[in-house]
Symmetry: C4
Subunit: 229 residues, 4 copies
Amino acid sequence: MLEKLKQDVCKANLDLVKYGLVIFTWGNVSAIDRESGLVVIKPSGVEYDNMTDDQMVVLDLEGNIVEGNLRPSSDTPTHLELYKAFPEIGGIVHTHSTYATAWSQAGMDLPIVGTTHADYFAGDIPCTRDMTEKEVTGGAYEKETGTVIIEKFAEINPMHIPGVLVKNHAPFTWGKDAHDAVHNSVVLEQIAKMAFVAQSVNPNMSMNPLLTTKHFERKHGANAYYGQK
Amino acid sequence: MLEKLKQDVCKANLDLVKYGLVIFTWGNVSAIDRESGLVVIKPSGVEYDNMTDDQMVVLDLEGNIVEGNLRPSSDTPTHLELYKAFPEIGGIVHTHSTYATAWSQAGMDLPIVGTTHADYFAGDIPCTRDMTEKEVTGGAYEKETGTVIIEKFAEINPMHIPGVLVKNHAPFTWGKDAHDAVHNSVVLEQIAKMAFVAQSVNPNMSMNPLLTTKHFERKHGANAYYGQK
Amino acid sequence: MLEKLKQDVCKANLDLVKYGLVIFTWGNVSAIDRESGLVVIKPSGVEYDNMTDDQMVVLDLEGNIVEGNLRPSSDTPTHLELYKAFPEIGGIVHTHSTYATAWSQAGMDLPIVGTTHADYFAGDIPCTRDMTEKEVTGGAYEKETGTVIIEKFAEINPMHIPGVLVKNHAPFTWGKDAHDAVHNSVVLEQIAKMAFVAQSVNPNMSMNPLLTTKHFERKHGANAYYGQK
Amino acid sequence: MLEKLKQDVCKANLDLVKYGLVIFTWGNVSAIDRESGLVVIKPSGVEYDNMTDDQMVVLDLEGNIVEGNLRPSSDTPTHLELYKAFPEIGGIVHTHSTYATAWSQAGMDLPIVGTTHADYFAGDIPCTRDMTEKEVTGGAYEKETGTVIIEKFAEINPMHIPGVLVKNHAPFTWGKDAHDAVHNSVVLEQIAKMAFVAQSVNPNMSMNPLLTTKHFERKHGANAYYGQK
């Protein structure tokens, strides 16, 4: 079942390696079939080298395994929370990519200071708050990770800011499908690196919000004129 | 028409990938045939992987498409302004290369602190001013990006400083042809990285202007003695 | 003798090159056969390019060569001290990998600020104290390097923090076997890089200790649920 | 003539590319045959891609071309000064490698803070003073670059510190032959990177001088015991 989606998710996981975003098993990609409400995700702790489509795990949105012989990624409950809260998204990526993870560890929002950022994310990329003792140790840590992410998007459109930094942990990104979520993950790592260098060079940098709107809209707005469509 | 120039421009675009200056579609190269006044430029939003010579778009200096089935780069109006203002230049490159973009985001001129810089750029590489609301939202954003660049070169010879940092955006470089502009783009990224490291190590660094003149002249002056010519 | 262990140790040494942790001869891996008490280690100053299993040197825990035509790594006495002090460990790695070495040179513990770190090391990775004149010049420098490491682990379980930074020198890591020690060495380099970037971005970063425990336990605790076991 | 030396010098130049120390034509290697007093050096401004042994230029120590159809490197007078002043050296390398060049631009000695450094350089690597107007513009700039280097070694053994940072320019390294000089150039770049990171992490870092002596001597002293010799 969902053969095409399993192919897409497997390929998207391998793309994380291709783009230098993961080593070992430090990342996972999922995608959802909104019609059936089923999610396809990478198995837990499996190396990328020999990963195949049929190792992908299929679950429903409550986390029940519908198909697959392997355990799903330990981050699965986080993915499920996001799919439930953000109905527009079709794919999710989690990595420990170097620079985005460093900003997460620093506990800081990734400030928007350039049009590279604005081409994909229409503002600062938020960093979640500290989790409470109950959230960490209460038995639903990965689900609660989703909760603190969603809390940050109470007043943010997740399609305008398709990513987040989980404090002391690492980033999640999403998109209309798995491929798009990987694309946003590559962008996030790149803008996190640039912002690190820019802040080192000038700690007082800032950006005109008009420029943010202009760049986001020229790629994603109603009158977008970037590209060939 | 302009088959040779289309080949050069296509190859120069692919060189951006080879030198690690672009990912996805984040860059574009153009060149001008000064005799006919026609410009060849990369199409907008097209991936580099299968790019071919005949995808290049040919325009006149007013932006009218003379040949080509694809939309030209969304940055085309910036290129055209530069060709009109700087008659000595034959090729232009725009990238979002990491370190040069970081300095652009920092909103700072790239200070000349070494002979590597002086071998190609005879002084600080200027960063443009903030654009006004009208420039950003008035409908000619990319053209106005050219305007703010040209403003910076009112008293600078663009062949002595063949590049610029657009504030909160990214660099443009140019040269006598597309190949030369790419070369300057590679150099700019390298010296932007070195200046970041040098400033971190010693925020009070400086350089003797005599050394700048010496190095620029030994490569580009009337009595140049670098190389085999 | 110990053919399998020699293969493992040779392969683990080559993995240091594959993971970008060493250049030239700047690293060494050993492993111990606890039954016989014999240690297999890389020969000193031998290039990785043509390294073969049968170049590995076999020694007893007192440093007597049992098999092999080449001198063992000059760091051998450090390895032997660690095997004697930490009975749980089966493999040891020493590298001069860039970021972990930089923290060693800085003379600072590597602070735990992220779950990537906590997934493998259950707290700060300690940096050893300055060695005394006698320790450096008394004729047993490499053995004393082991002593100052062990001193740091008086109240730390070496399987909970499987690595150390030797002040002004470089890291050692260990694990249940040579492969595992190399894995920890790759992780250490990665988290050292992330912590450098994170501290640059926010010098006041910190991490909730509950999160450390949670992540270490979900991979290594009695009720671990990461991966497929 | 000097076929073997030309091969060595050509190969050493290509090794600069292999080790990532140069782009374009930004580097040069020479070697000297002390018996004949003849120096072999890379031609000026020639790309590495198709470099061949017979393009190497042979000169005497006064700079007269003895063999070769191409102009020698524009830095040749610097090399010749060093060969005349330092009779123990057999090969010289000049690069604009990123981190060593950044320290040169910062105008700072590269501080010794680790044993990786001490394994090859027995102390801080000096940065030269500002050159005077006469030295820069008097017509013998490259020769005077040699002079300011030699000045720094008035009380330093060039075989104990086989390299230097030329202020606002870039490093030179040397060794017993071209291969050895390239090796030192790779090491210099690596320790320059580590020192940048270490200083960022702890601006007050320092190192026990006993450790410097210990490490330099165990590789290069009368009783060296590193490696297989």
